[in-house]
């Protein structure tokens, strides 16, 4: 996605960002547009990780900005603007998942065991070559089964490489809680994907 470097530089400066937010709050539409351009990719990326498809993520991105710019008066500038925006996106994503009836999946261990038993023998024997793709496919499915806060924490920290402070600001929790979310997500994924992760006899994958 094209992002003019000048704009990015301007956005990256906290003081400039604060000015931009203030101008947008005062009704400057150009400032609002610049905020949208600057944060569209981040918001879209987060929503894509939450809802799992482009169309919904795009719609929710739009709705996030509509809500955010429409309620800038509520933004108190105590935390990063991106975090506040991310929090709105996160709530919208969660509401969206809830509306769809595809909210946090309740996965029973019995179901996981049954799935593990049903997995083909070749899968359990240590994937090679294209079976890494199989692991990725399973991982994609498993990500959609994660509860939304864990999914969002994982996406922000592991997939986007954000700092825990940023993750916590977006999730509206303390950094320690964000760390716990990532830890829980890893454990759940590792439990669900155990047959495809245990490939030591298959040799180094990389």
């Amino acid at each position: 996605m094209p992002r003019p470097s000048k704009l990015v530089d301007e956005i990256l400066a906290p003081a400039a960002l604060a000015r931009l937010v203030e101008r947008a709050r005062e009704g400057d539409r150009a400032a609002g547009d610049r905020l949208v351009r600057a944060f569209a990719a981040e918001v879209y990326g987060l929503l894509y990780r939450i809802v799992g498809n482009h169309e919904d993520a795009e719609d929710l991105t739009q709705e996030t900005f509509v809500r955010a710019l429409g309620s800038l008066a509520l933004y108190r500038a105590e935390g990063p603007f991106g975090g506040w925006l991310g929090r709105i996106a996160l709530h919208l994503g969660r509401d969206h998942q809830r509306r769809r009836g595809r909210g946090p999946a309740r996965v029973s261990l019995q179901a996981v065991d049954a799935e593990r038993q049903a997995a083909p023998a070749t899968d359990r024997d240590g994937p090679t070559g294209g079976e890494f793709g199989e692991l990725q496919r399973r991982l994609s499915e498993a990500l959609q089964r994660l509860p939304v806060p864990l999914r969002a924490a994982l996406a922000l920290r592991v997939l986007q490489g954000r700092e825990y402070d940023d993750v916590a600001a977006t999730l509206g929790v303390r950094p320690a809680t964000a760390r716990t979310h990532v830890m829980k997500a890893r454990r759940l994924l590792q439990r669900w994907l155990a047959p495809w992760l245990d490939t030591r006899e298959g040799g180094d994958r990389r």
Partner: protein, 761 residues
């Protein structure tokens, strides 16, 4: 597995592990199989996470997003709500607290306590006083409570009631005024926070071809009722004959306001399609009992035959509705297959045209949105695979990949089906077919139809190489990418391009990129590696060490200076890679920065590794260093580990090969001559000790003879005496060195050459 190990595993996964964590984990893994298993699983999970496809940001139309947001913010929410049959929500305006503030101020003023810091408390006490018929007067901050005269009580009570009534009136008027202003959209043009209908309407507007809500909602006012999962749709105005847009408008109005499941959407669609069919003179159909995708598809099909048989846009429209509730596209595909089987209109050639995005406009005359086209492509591809029409699918391969539908299509197959279908599509793809985008290049890689040069050219030539790096190349894994790049003349440039394309790689990608850099000797990525090292990335350090033509010691020294390298792991790995380069760097350091060289020698002396022999020999011979440092280097050289047999020197160390030993002896020999001429006894004695340790008896004799034939025999005898003295084998190396040093001093002291009063001269 203890808690510390678990924490290290967590840090390994989330990318916050330090080099100490990694080294400790590897030590733990070597000692405990459970830790090894957990570490392997964690790394593999991290690898899989890192290889997940990036969000398709390139598909996000930012300018359209900006325009949509601006349009939504500019729209009057109450107007839009009224057209949806939704009344504006009264807002809790600032007038309410303002009115109370005004009332409080009046009250305080009436009591004469305005401006006092304890006014609130006093006010409260006075209110209590009014209620109890007790007056309170304030003097010097104290409150005197005394009964008030009845007349005064009555007057104050009337004042209190009046003020309270005024406050209520102001509040009510304020609320009404604010509501009115919101309704007019004059003062608050932005939608209220929490108004989901706005966003939903916008979604529908986008889905129906990017038409604005104002355009779509002109003319029709439709309400909706929903109860118990049953939905009925009523039209307050009959639909006009020219009502394609109005029907679309009705959809736009109704659908967003009610949370609909697939069946409800199907019913809604059926109602309007039915309406459309009636208007066009076709037959109506019964919408009762419509449930699920197959029924929905049947409704669509009926609508086809009744109104617009074989018209793809309506199918796309219907599938989009399904697809919006079904991100995986399975139900949409089911509907498409159903249509394909039941309808003669859905032939493979039609499906193939659908892959090309044929329906530019939908049945209502509006441009088909990307969502419609995407879902339609996916559904058509599913139907083509189901029909076994691989040739048609291959012809639409480019657009399928470029639209992102290919990934979703492949993702819907299980392992066995994937092999079967991919093989068939690969065979159907023309041999001269070439990808036109990064997405199709990636699709080509999926099919296994790409070679080294081709992929390298792709990396270089694609204008969207950055997206290629993120979406196509790295998910292959460095081994796979190397496999296809190996032998290509473009490999180095391709890897450097990949490195430049990575803005914020995670730890896994750093490892992959480092591996690629080392394998292709992509020295253009040194700056990138340097930046990673400054961020304390051990993998980048390893890569820099392994990369030819770099000076990794400088990086190590820098890290040491920052207190980062607290153990010898990086040094030892560096020595294992290329110990000769250590000596080279030391020599370079001596020419440029003696202090750094001295620090380096001290470090080598402390390490005492056999791989350091060339470096220590270099230090012994360096005239730039002071005598004490050279002496310490010589003694450390003598103390380097050797085999326990003692006779065959240094045969079990990495530096034990003949050429290395010969090089060390030659260096020491030259240094001994220099030291003999200019230094004191300490360096000379230490050099003799080092030579005794590294040279054979013949070499030692030759070296000493070169100094002075008269003392050679005696020096050699002394050295041999020290080495072969009874009980020498049981002595520690340090003791042997000390004994040899003392003996050498005694022997050398009698050579009559002394010039500065030392023993040796």
């Amino acid at each position: 597995m203890n808690a510390a190990t678990r924490r290290r595993l967590e840090r390994t996964f989330d990318g916050s592990a330090t080099i100490e964590d990694l080294l400790q984990l590897e030590r733990d893994a070597a000692a405990d199989p459970a830790v090894a298993a957990a570490l392997h699983a964690t790394r593999r999970l991290a690898e899989a996470c890192g290889a997940l496809p990036e969000p398709p940001i390139e598909r996000l139309d930012v300018e359209h997003l900006v325009a949509s947001v601006r349009r939504e913010l500019g729209a009057s929410p109450t107007e839009a709500d009224s057209q949806r049959g939704v009344h504006g929500r009264p807002s809790k305006a600032p007038q309410v607290p303002h009115s109370w503030l005004l009332s409080g101020t009046l009250l305080q003023r009436s009591w004469g306590v305005r401006g006092r810091r304890d006014g609130s408390w006093i006010l409260w006490r006075r209110l209590q006083g009014v209620r109890r018929g007790v007056g309170a007067s304030v003097r010097g901050g104290r409150v005197d409570r005394a009964p008030l005269p009845k007349q005064q009580q009555r007057r104050r009570a009337i004042t209190l009631v009046s003020v309270a009534a005024a406050a209520c009136v102001i509040a009510v008027v304020g609320v009404r005024t604010h509501t009115q202003r919101v309704g007019d959209g004059a003062q608050h043009p932005r939608p209220a926070f929490g108004d989901s209908a706005v966003g939903s309407a916008s979604r529908s507007a986008v889905a129906f071809g990017n038409r604005s809500a104002e355009d779509l909602t002109s003319g029709a006012a439709v309400g909706s009722e929903s109860s118990g999962g049953q939905m009925s749709v009523r039209s307050e105005e009959p639909l006009a004959a020219d009502g394609d847009a109005r029907i679309l408008t009705a959809f736009d109005v109704v659908l967003p306001t009610v949370p609909l499941d697939v069946a409800a959407r199907a019913r809604a669609l059926a109602v309007f399609v039915d309406e459309l069919a009636v208007q066009s003179g076709g037959g109506a159909f019964d919408v009762t009992g419509v449930d699920g995708a197959a029924e929905f598809a049947r409704c669509v099909e009926d609508a086809f035959h009744a109104r617009i048989s074989g018209d793809w846009p309506l199918a796309g429209f219907a599938l989009e509705l399904l697809g919006s509730s079904d991100p995986e596209g399975r139900r949409a595909a089911e509907a498409a297959r159903y249509l394909g089987v039941r309808s003669d209109a859905l032939t493979p050639s039609r499906l193939a045209r659908a892959l090309d995005g044929a329906p530019a406009r939908n049945v209502f005359g509006a441009p088909s949105g990307e969502a419609v086209a995407h879902t339609l492509r996916l559904a058509a591809a599913q139907a083509l695979v189901e029909l076994g029409a691989y040739d048609e699918l291959a012809r639409g391969f480019e657009v399928l990949c470029a639209s992102g539908a290919w990934d979703r299509l492949v993702g819907t197959w299980d392992l066995e089906a994937r092999h079967r279908h991919l093989d068939a599509i690969a065979r159907a793809l023309p041999s001269d077919w070439r990808p036109a985008s990064a997405a199709s290049a990636r699709g080509l890689v999926t099919l296994g139809r790409v070679g080294a040069d081709r992929l390298a050219q792709l990396v270089l030539s694609l204008t969207a190489s950055r997206s290629f790096a993120r979406s196509a190349a790295l998910p292959l894994g460095s081994r796979e990418l190397l496999g296809v790049l190996r032998g290509s003349p473009f490999a180095r440039e391709a890897v450097e391009d990949l490195v430049r394309a990575e803005q914020r790689p995670d730890s896994l990608r750093v490892a992959q990129l480092c591996e690629l850099i080392v394998a292709t000797e992509a020295t253009g990525a040194i700056d990138w590696l340097d930046a990673r090292i400054r961020r304390r990335d051990p993998v980048a350090l390893e890569a820099l060490v392994a990369l030819p033509g770099t000076t990794p010691i400088a990086a190590l020294l820098q890290l040491e200076g920052e207190g980062y390298v607290r153990d010898d792991g990086p040094w030892l790995r560096l020595l294992a890679v290329d110990h000769a380069r250590v000596a080279t760097h030391l020599a370079r350091a001596m020419r440029s920065d003696v202090a750094e060289a001295r620090s380096l020698v001290e470090r080598f002396v402390a390490l005492g590794r056999p791989e350091l022999a060339p470096a220590l020999a270099c230090a012994v011979a360096a005239r730039e260093l002071d005598a004490a440092t050279r002496e310490r280097a010589a003694l450390a050289l003598a103390e380097l580990p050797r085999d326990e047999a003692g006779g065959a020197r240094a045969t079990s160390t990495p530096g034990s090969d003949d050429s290395l030993r010969a090089g060390v002896v030659a260096t020491l020999d030259a240094a001994l001559v220099e030291a003999w001429l200019t230094d004191g006894d300490g360096p000379v004695a230490a050099l003799v000790v080092a030579l005794e340790a590294w040279a054979t008896a013949e070499q030692l004799t030759e070296c000493l003879t070169r100094l002075d034939p008269r003392v050679a025999e005696r020096l050699q005898a002394a050295a041999q005496l020290a080495a072969g003295r009874p009980g020498a084998g049981t002595l520690s190396r340090q003791a042997r060195v000390q004994r040899t040093l003392a003996t050498t001093r005694v022997v050398a002291g009698s050579n009559g050459r002394g010039t500065r009063g030392t023993n040796l001269r």
